[in-house]
Structure formats: C-alpha cells, structure tokens
Assembly symmetry: C2
Homo-oligomer: 190 residues x 2
C-alpha cells in the first residue's frame, strides 16, 4: 500500500476551488488548502509557484497548442485562418470536466481582483503565443498582434458560452463563430 495517495496536484486544485467558493479567496490560507488535500503547505508550493496559480496552472500547455496550431496551418492560410486553426486545436483539448468546473472557476475569479489580474495576464500570454507563432510565418508584427488578440478574445467569449448549461454547440464551433463575429466587427471599424 502506498504512503501517498495519487493525484496530489488534482486534489490540491479541487480543495482550493472548494474552499475559495465556500469562504472566499482571501479568507482561505494555503495551509487550509493543503490540509483539505491531506498535504502540507510545503507540498502545495512544490506543485504551484504561488497561491493564485492553483487556479491557472496548465496554461503553458494552451500556449503550446496555439503555437503548434498556427504552425500546422497551410502556408496559404491567412493570419485569421491560422488563428482559427489554432483555436480548433486548443478548444478540442478541453474536456467535459473542465466545462463542468467552468462556472465555479469564473465565479471565484470574478470575486477577487488578484485573480482577475492573473487571468488578464494569462490571457495576454495566450495572445503573445499566438502573435509569436504568426510572426514566424512572416506575418507583420502589427497584423500578427491584432489577429492574435482577436483569437484570444474569441477564445474567452466562446468559453463563456460553452460552459453555459443551455449550450449545445461544441467549444470549437463556438470559437469559430466568435472569431467570425470579431472579424466582421474589426473590419467594420474602418
């Protein structure tokens, strides 16, 4: 029999989400999170660099999915088509479990400025990954940066719609819809 239960990381995430929802982010200490997961504070910080990150871990994976998606798009693809391909790859990686926890996650984040700050930063990181990947295709910086922003924006809006209980469409379908709507709105700015 094992000395340690498996999935320590996942237990920490779930414990944190529970406690944050129950008593608020500020009123929850890292020690409480660790204890609920049957671990200690030290172990928590071995898995996550700081308290906030327990809700945002794994975004490097998302950045890579986006970058690879852009790189895999055909040479003939326009910048926005490449972004669409990247969103296809990213959204396809999401699971039903992630959809299930979505509303609680957004609620907790919405209730705390520190978490909003981290969320904003992570979103910017995703856009930066997209822009960098587009740049490697030869897309001019300004164009790449704008197309990347539309992609990040489409992802956020699609996520909001996807996690709604009444939603029937797939995450990928929603992201494509949102990107198309953003493209139309952007062109109409001129």
């Amino acid at each position: 029999m094992a000395r340690w239960e498996p999935n320590a990381r996942e237990r920490l995430v779930l414990a944190a989400l529970d406690l944050f929802a129950e008593q608020g982010y500020d009123n929850t200490t890292v020690t409480q999170i660790a204890n609920r997961a049957g671990l200690t504070k030290t172990t928590f910080f071995r898995h996550f660099p700081d308290k906030r990150e327990v809700l945002f871990a794994g975004q490097e994976v998302h950045s890579r999915l986006l970058a690879d998606g852009v790189a895999a798009a055909p040479d003939s693809a326009t910048p926005l088509e490449a972004v669409a391909a990247a969103l296809d790859a990213l959204t396809a990686s999401f699971t039903a479990e992630q959809r299930e926890f979505g509303p609680r996650l957004l609620t907790v984040i919405a209730g705390n400025p520190e978490l909003q700050e981290r969320a904003t930063f992570k979103r910017a990181a995703l856009a930066a990954a997209l822009a960098s990947a587009l740049g490697k295709r030869g897309v001019p910086d300004l164009t790449a940066s704008l197309a990347a922003d539309l992609g990040a924006r489409a992802f956020d809006r699609a996520f909001d719609r996807w996690i709604e209980p009444s939603s029937q469409q797939t995450f990928t379908e929603l992201a494509r819809e949102e990107l198309q709507a953003l493209r139309t709105a952007a062109v109409a700015l001129g």
Copy 2:
C-alpha cells in the same frame, strides 16, 4: 519648522524607482523604500495599497481622462474618432518629467514578471474605461471593445516612441499616428 517634509508620496515613488533600478525589484524591501524617503513601512502602505502600485499609481486619472474624452467627442464622431479624441486628452496630460522617467520605468517593469502582470492589468483597465465610455454613446459592445483595444494599443506604442531621446514629435501626434496605423492593419485583416 515642519515635522514632516512635504511630498511624501512623490519621495516614495522616486525612492522606489531608484532602488528597483539599483538592486532589482525583488531585492528591494518596502522598509528600504520608506527609509530612503525618510518614512516608515506603515506610511508607505498608507499611500499605496501594495508594493507594486508605487510604480502605477495615478492610472485612475488616466481612465477618467479617456472616459471624459470619449464623452466630449461630437455625436457625429465614429468610434475610432472618439477614441482618437480621448487619446488627445490623455496624451496632452503628460509632462516632460513623466517622459524623463519613462525609460527607467519601462526597464524596471520589463525586468520583473510581477510588475508586467500589473502593467498588463492596468492596460486592460484603460481599455475597459474606453469601451465603457463608448458603450454609453450607443456603440455596440463588440465594436466598442475592439475600438478600445486599438486605443490602448496605440497609447502603449506611442509612449514607447515618445520616451525615446531621439523623438521629436509630441505624444499626441505619435498616438494619432499609431492609431491610424492600427486602424489600417485591422481593416486589412478582413
């Protein structure tokens, strides 16, 4: 003779900028900043809610300038024209002193992820203020949000150019140039 020298806030900002530049953000304690300014840690936190904010304080003023600038634009103005008017108002409020400290400020921020996070958040707050002001003019949400993002982007890019020693143009001129370039690039995405 006074017990306290005046301009405590300003002294704290200058002390912080100096120390961050000298020995790095992480290696500088709030107590050090306060002592260099002839004050104590408690007083520092009476002026700034946290250590990072000493470099970003005063951005609420910027948000208000943008919002008021949008509101003051003529009814006939397009969303981007309203954004341009807001940028005029904001950029006109900057002083030669702010330009002088710009490079050091950006260098310090570039050297620390925590500060980059706060900078990203503040930038998003500016865009949100713009978008909200546009919404009050009846601009649709999507359009307002995109136009606001172009505005925030133009501001950042113009600031980078403005603080360069070789720069001859005014901040306002640079912001208008950048906004125009972004508009062109956005329309070309279609």
